[in-house]
């Protein structure tokens, strides 16, 4: 069973529709106990870092997420669900979960912000969820991106008037800056590859 993290700020419909389409069993989780009872988690964060962290703290999901992440179960963070893995976000000058070392910074680009639309990912190394997706287009909508302290966490990057990190992989914990649930066939492929890991309850030592 995949837990779909609902902190009351995001909209789960598009992710749950995609999981239904793929035939993957899921349920909504709103507290730490429910989260820790699942085999894998998808965290589709939408919105601003500060208010999301406040909501996570008030429901105790912040501690639940940390415990879940450390337990070696598959996790997929989407957009804000990726960013919150790091220590601090420049958006709202907010502390984040701090599971990974690094910062969330505003994109530095001469192009328009937010970065909205379809862009490609350059896959840095073999990553199970990105199998056969090097160069694929995904749908982005964001102004901030992660800067991990450890470059080996980078799974893929993307060019938007300068390169930024678009996928983080510390298997079985993954984070994507784009929205696979809105990225057509290739997005569904990524989600299906994550669901396969979830189904196998992949151990923590693969990355």
């Amino acid at each position: 069973m995949i837990g779909l993290v609902d902190y009351g700020g995001g909209n789960l419909a598009s992710v749950s529709n995609a999981l239904d389409f793929l035939g993957a069993p899921w349920r909504q989780v709103r507290c730490a106990a429910d989260l820790l009872a699942t085999d894998a988690a998808v965290f589709p964060g939408v919105g601003a870092a500060g208010s999301a962290m406040n909501r996570l703290r008030s429901s105790g999901l912040d501690q639940g997420l940390l415990e879940f992440l450390r337990s070696g179960r598959p996790y997929l963070g989407i957009c804000l669900g990726l960013q919150l893995l790091f220590q601090h976000s420049a958006e709202d000058d907010s502390p984040c979960l701090g599971f990974l070392e690094g910062e969330v910074v505003r994109l530095t680009t001469a192009e328009k912000l937010p970065h909205v639309g379809w862009n490609t990912v350059a896959v840095a190394r073999p990553i199970p969820i990105l199998d056969e997706l090097d160069g694929a287009y995904f749908y982005f909508t964001h102004s901030y991106a992660v800067q991990p302290s450890n470059q080996r966490l980078v799974g893929a990057d993307t060019d938007y008037g300068g390169r930024f990190v678009s996928v983080i992989a510390r298997a079985p914990v993954f984070g994507v800056q784009f929205h696979p649930e809105r990225s057509g066939r290739d997005g569904l492929r990524l989600l299906a590859q994550f669901c396969a890991l979830a189904a196998a309850r992949m151990p923590a030592n693969a990355g």
Binding site: N11, A13, S14, N17, A18, D20, F21, V46, G47, A48, E111, K112, L113, P114, H115, V116, G117, W118, N119, T120, Y137, Y139, T141, H142, D159, Y160, E181, R182, S183, G184, R185, G187, L188
Partner: protein, 251 residues
């Protein structure tokens, strides 16, 4: 590199796709769920649904339609038509819309744009501008392009950007329905004045028009309806032409 987006637009009334946005006689064009799936499979980057009647009774039909499309189509969906309050926006987002387009209500109460952006994030707030040529500039029209507002379109675009709009959907009332090409000057004037994406609309007759508005017109995305609904062009076919012209597209 960021791709230019090609967006089929489906005008809907009473659960059907219709043609004749600014006219009385509506021609039935097909089933929206089926058409959405075909366009998505053909490479559409996004879909826009506009409820052109926007009656209170039609609202539930629209919400059912969005719910059904969102279950089957996994590309961004923008829904508009008769959106007046943040509650209207919330309901459409919950049904599965990724973005909601507001127009008349934004002119009546610009605070709506600000409130929606702060509640749901700018990324889901699209503001539609219907603009008509007036001398050297353009005037904003509302209520299905029937009511002039006295607002100058470029200044209005800047104001919307300041209020937190995430994207602007700019329709040339003069070009709409002519198939004679987009209003490149209008699109470029707005695209050059704001730092948010501009979707050009109105006047697409063939791929050359999309090439022009995505280059000379400096639009980030091109919306078209009848060239796709008529079956004259597929999204795949248009994208092949764009690619040949050097416009970056998702293939």
């Amino acid at each position: 590199m960021l791709a230019k987006r090609i967006i089929p637009c489906l005008d809907v009334a009473r659960g059907r796709v219709v043609k004749g946005r600014h006219f009385r006689n509506l021609l039935d064009q097909g089933d929206p769920v089926q058409m959405a799936a075909v366009y998505a499979a053909s490479g559409a980057d996004e879909l826009v649904f506009l409820d052109i009647e926007a009656t209170v009774e039609g609202r539930d039909t629209l919400i059912d339609l969005v719910t059904e499309v969102a279950r089957q189509v996994f590309i961004p969906l923008t829904v508009g038509g008769g959106v007046r309050t943040t509650e209207d926006i919330r309901v459409l987002l919950r049904a599965g819309a990724d973005k909601v387009s507001v127009q008349t209500a934004a002119v009546a109460d610009p605070h709506l744009v600000e409130a929606a952006a702060s509640l749901f994030g700018s990324q889901c707030v699209v503001v539609a501008i219907d603009a008509q040529r007036r001398g050297q500039g353009w005037e904003v029209l509302t209520h299905g392009a029937r009511i002039p507002t006295g607002l100058e379109a470029v200044a209005w675009a800047r104001e919307l950007s300041r209020l937190g709009a995430g994207e602007l959907l700019v329709t040339s009332v003069d070009a709409d329905g002519t198939k004679g090409g987009y209003d490149l000057a209008l699109t470029a004037a707005i695209a050059d004045s704001v730092r948010i994406p501009v979707i050009a609309s109105g006047g697409a007759g063939g791929p050359a028009d999309l090439v022009a508005v995505l280059t000379e017109g400096r639009a980030d995305a091109a919306l078209a309806a009848s060239i796709f609904h008529s079956g004259r062009w597929t999204v795949t076919g248009v994208k092949a032409e764009l690619e040949a012209a050097g416009v970056p597209v998702r293939r």
